[in-house]
């Protein structure tokens, strides 16, 4: 199967609380981009897209879409600046968003 030019992951917001989530393994929506499951082939992309659409229909998440990512030593980094901000939080408030939770975990 054809490899994608750029790996992709699916992202959305969780319906109940709006938390930014990414589609991970086993069809689970995870709270960090690093825990997401990247698709590197068209077949994987198609399957993940179907799972995302189903989760939308099942009212687990809202407004799912696909983003380009780069993969490096197990970490997943969104390509677009917008998506990097979404994955970490406001750049002017490091105490908010994912970045704050990550710090809390590290502490």
């Amino acid at each position: 199967m054809t490899d994608l030019k750029t790996p992709v992951v699916f992202t959305a917001n969780r319906l109940r609380d709006g938390e930014v989530v990414w589609l991970g393994a086993n069809g689970r929506w995870v709270e960090t981009v690093d825990a997401s499951l990247p698709a590197t082939t068209q077949a994987e992309q198609t399957q993940l897209a179907a799972i995302a659409a189903q989760s939308d229909a099942d009212n687990v998440i809202v407004e799912p879409y696909e983003i380009d990512v780069s993969l490096d030593a197990g970490s997943v980094t969104p390509v677009r600046f917008r998506e990097r901000i979404r994955a970490s939080g406001p750049t002017i408030r490091l105490d908010l968003g994912k970045q704050a939770q990550n710090t809390a975990h590290a502490a």
């Binding site: 917001n13 319906l15 709006g18 938390e19 009212n59 600046f81 901000i85």
Partner: protein
């Protein structure tokens, strides 16, 4: 201040109950997002970059201390301990959970507040001069008319699904502090030759991707005809406004494409048809709504305060603050205080719960229980005794809200930008913060004088960049943030759209570019009193362009 009547109470409470049920049905899956989205939008709930966002209306920018305290409570209990005052006199909470929003709306309803029509293609929260009812230059308080418009436009069955959103602003003085000419309808309260109250009516103003200054459609509409005339405008727009392209759907495009003369004929024809109908305002109704906005019981005071003068002499920081942030009041012995939510390096318009509580307390103790939110993202204490200014200042200083920069270069308007907004293409707040830091020296700011700097993080222009003396628009170019500069815009009674000066600047260049513009102005102004805007209007863009884009030095042949 306007108090809800029985109808308002019942209506808002039933709306909360209705939305609670809708949220429950959404979460249970009974309603799809397609079903739910228009509903949540009409209740002020957006889905933003990181989370849901709730936009709460502050009708015509006026609120009391209890309401401000409730905003603090909501920020503390349901959000992340702060709120963001917007460029349309609203407040936004950036992190609410969908499941909590019905409770938030119930809390708001308990203090006569709501989020109805703060989004969607309907008539939005009506804005007004934030100095309304206080300013020395006022002809009449615009808020009773804004309230009448609020009552008329709230769930107006004909106007809930307009081609696009619709914004109305009302001013009550010749000086425009509400960017009235950048609204779909702008109303200027005035008196005619017979000394009767009425309105100059402007239509088709707006910012966004197609900025336009409103055109005057009527020099004078009588007070009694306010709603009939507005209804005629809305009806013509609702019928003829474009629905094929959301970027061409605002009334400004209709004005532009149809022409103001032709459109005026249509509006006048509809107005003539309905002017003697149900919308004609009975004088007693106007006067009774006006009574809600009656001036507080001002004491009879001298127009000077020895206490104030002594305090200014003793505290230069206070004296500076008085010089910038205190404006003339219509009642002798009183003043209007602008609390600039623009400390050095802060996000414009953000206030913590603790700060909101302090503001509420100050409103209660020193301003007849009244506060205002300005479209410039500041909070106003409209009725403070001159004798009390020092006490107000000291409390603000203790809570980081005593910036003496109202109207100066660091009193920046900025939209949330890419740090929060799903539509943004670049960040705004960090640009505002860096400029604020670069120009933090108050001596320098005062030397520069009045300079309105406005920043938007996308073409939708929530940061009003077109109306900035210096405007900055952030865009994305090849994956990087790029900032375009416009000069000569103005949101006051001399409304003008800024002109793009040239190629954009990278995020690490934009503050230098602003500094170059300011230095160019300082080096060429005719006197200390000539403002940046006046100097730009006199000289045009050429000297600024030359300074920003110096010709490359001739390269020597190798």
């Amino acid at each position: 201040m306007y108090r809800y009547d029985e109808f308002d109470h019942e209506f808002v409470e039933s709306r909360v109950a209705q939305f609670r049920d809708q949220v429950a049905r959404r979460v249970s899956g009974e309603l799809s997002e397609d079903n739910f989205k228009p509903i949540r939008l009409q209740n002020g709930v957006y889905l933003q970059l990181h989370a849901y966002m709730l936009r709460v209306a502050v009708p015509y920018g006026t609120l009391n201390s209890q309401q401000m305290r409730m905003l603090a409570h909501i920020a503390r209990k349901y959000d992340r301990d702060y709120g963001h005052f917007t460029t349309r006199q609203n407040i936004q909470f950036n992190w609410p959970k969908l499941e909590d929003i019905p409770d938030i709306l119930a809390d708001l309803a308990s203090v006569e507040m709501h989020a109805i029509q703060t989004s969607g293609n309907c008539i939005r929260n009506v804005t007004a001069d934030h100095f309304a009812g206080a300013s020395a230059d006022e002809i009449a308080d615009p808020r009773p008319y804004a309230e009448i418009l609020r009552q008329w436009s709230t769930v107006h069955p004909e106007f809930l699904f307009l081609p696009r959103k619709f914004k109305i602003a009302v001013i009550g003085a010749g000086v425009d502090r509400a960017a009235m000419q950048f609204h779909d309808i702008g109303l200027e309260v005035k008196r005619n030759a017979a000394d009767e109250l009425g309105f100059g009516v402007f239509i088709g103003g707006g910012l966004g991707r197609t900025p336009m200054v409103a055109k005057q459609v009527r020099d004078f509409v009588a007070e009694a005809d306010l709603l009939s005339y507005c209804e005629a405008i809305l009806r013509v727009y609702n019928l003829s406004g474009r629905r094929d392209n959301k970027y061409k759907a605002r009334i400004k495009i209709l004005v532009h494409e149809t022409g103001i003369d032709e459109l005026k004929q249509q509006i006048e024809a509809e107005f003539e048809r309905i002017r003697e109908g149900v919308l004609k305002l009975p004088d007693e109704d106007v006067r009774s709504i006006e009574a809600y906005f009656a001036a507080p019981a001002f004491e009879e005071l001298p127009n000077e305060s020895a206490k104030l003068e002594a305090a200014q002499a003793a505290d230069p920081g206070f004296a500076r603050w008085v010089g910038r942030n205190v404006s003339a009041h219509k009642a002798p012995g009183y003043a209007i205080v602008t609390v600039a939510l623009k400390g050095t390096g802060e996000a414009p318009g953000d206030a913590t719960s603790a700060q909101m509580d302090v503001l509420a307390g100050l409103g209660e103790a020193y301003s007849f229980d009244e506060l205002r939110v300005s479209h410039e993202q500041n909070v106003i204490l409209p009725h403070v005794r001159l004798d009390d200014l020092k006490a107000v200042y000291d409390a603000l200083l203790a809570h980081g809200m005593a910036s003496a920069n109202a109207g100066l270069i660091t009193d920046i308007i900025a939209c949330p930008g890419l740090d929060y907004c799903a539509l943004a293409t670049a960040r705004s707040i960090p640009v505002a913060q860096e400029i604020s830091q670069r120009f933090s020296d108050l001596d320098r700011q005062n030397e520069i004088g009045e300079l309105k700097l406005k920043i938007s993080g996308c073409i939708n222009a929530c940061g009003h960049h077109h109306a900035g003396h210096i405007g900055i628009l952030g865009v994305e170019k090849r994956g990087e943030e790029l900032y375009q500069v416009t000069l000569g815009g103005s949101g006051d009674e001399t409304a003008a759209i800024g002109e793009i000066i040239g190629r954009g600047f990278a995020s690490d260049e934009i503050t230098n570019a602003v500094e170059t513009l300011v230095d160019t102005y300082l080096a060429r102004r005719l006197s200390d009193d000539e403002t940046f805007l006046e100097a730009y209007r006199r000289m045009g863009p050429a000297p600024f362009k030359e300074a920003l884009y110096p010709p490359a030095p001739a390269t020597e042949a190798a």
